[in-house]
Symmetry: C2
Subunit: 205 residues, 2 copies
């Protein structure tokens, strides 16, 4: 049956369409998406134009680095092209983790983006991640140390253990980022697992 | 002095530009803006394209209704064009308040968007708001009742008092939305029940 002639359809206008598109982004519900849309309406039209143009060109401009898997405008990326980087490889889950670590200026080596973590229940198996490429890189680039920087979650730990096993026959030392109490945190609010890790990983002063 | 030849400039790439644009939106800091950007990178390119296209056409598509001042694709807007709407006028601060009230389905009259509230310290005086137009509409449209639906803030109350005074010589009854809206709150975030109560409990001024 076709009701279209009887039931008045609510007109879908530009405000609704933009609100609906924004509300697909993480952390934005319908109300906060609407708030953004009205903010854009109240702003200078040049803002919406700039944002629109950036978005249209975005996927064209940003590629994945064929070596490390991070997002970049150049291939290979600036980090992979930098010959002065130490032969130490930091393995992360996602491309955005590269930026977080780069901004901390704590690490002067190279990166390798796995593209996720092993999670069989969600259908992510080792062969879905760039682990084969990782092994090849460790050999070819004569990597001295592999730092496993997956998130301290069950899946992150599982993945770290798996990678440790498959890299056993290489020359590289395998390390894992320390897990424990966050700086500035409060012992009272630490969860049991975090506390447990901070005890196991305690260091002599 | 020109340092540009000595100091290596950090390259500004598409990710940075988009992050910077998103972080200008209300409630989005640099971190959450970055999160959106990487979400868009991980999503289907069609999403960024749709969002980009909507934004480019947005200010062209959406205008202000010349009668009530709300945002609309048609002028006059669908509400102002609707002859069956009662001669009751709901006066709101901002265009987005029209949508909130429409969605509550509590009100079958017409709207008038003030474009703000009287706030002398911020340089907003009565003549900066569409109060002259409001008086003209109340007379011309033979409005029976004017419901003042400004936010329950100091500025909203001041504005309500001011409008009550200037509408004294018209035929319209002036009412103000009842409390029920939390003081200091924002109409945009009111839930439907609270809105409903504030409509039913409105009091004569």
């Amino acid at each position: 049956m076709n009701y279209s002639n009887n039931v008045p359809r609510k007109p879908i206008n530009a405000i609704d369409r933009l609100t609906s598109l924004f509300s697909r982004l993480p952390g934005l519900g319908k109300k906060s998406a609407g708030r953004l849309v009205y903010h854009i309406l109240d702003s200078d039209p040049g803002y919406a134009r700039s944002l629109g143009e950036e978005l249209l060109a975005f996927h064209q401009a940003i590629k994945r680095c064929s070596r490390c898997g991070s997002y970049t405008e150049l291939n290979p990326c600036a980090i992979c092209s930098d010959e002065s980087r130490e032969p130490v490889l930091c393995v992360v889950e996602r491309a955005q983790d590269v930026r977080v670590i780069e901004e901390s200026k704590e690490f002067g080596g190279r990166f390798h983006v796995l593209g996720g973590v092993i999670a069989p229940l969600e259908g992510v198996n080792p062969e879905d991640l760039s682990i084969g490429e990782l092994i090849a890189r460790v050999r070819k680039e004569e990597i001295r140390e592999v730092i496993l920087a997956m998130n301290p979650t069950v899946e992150g730990d599982t993945t770290a253990l798996y990678i440790q096993k498959v890299l056993k026959n290489t020359e590289a030392t395998i390390t894992r980022l320390a897990s424990g109490l966050p700086v500035g945190g409060d012992l009272e609010y630490a969860d049991r697992l975090t506390l447990s890790r901070s005890f196991r990983g305690r260091i002599r002063m």
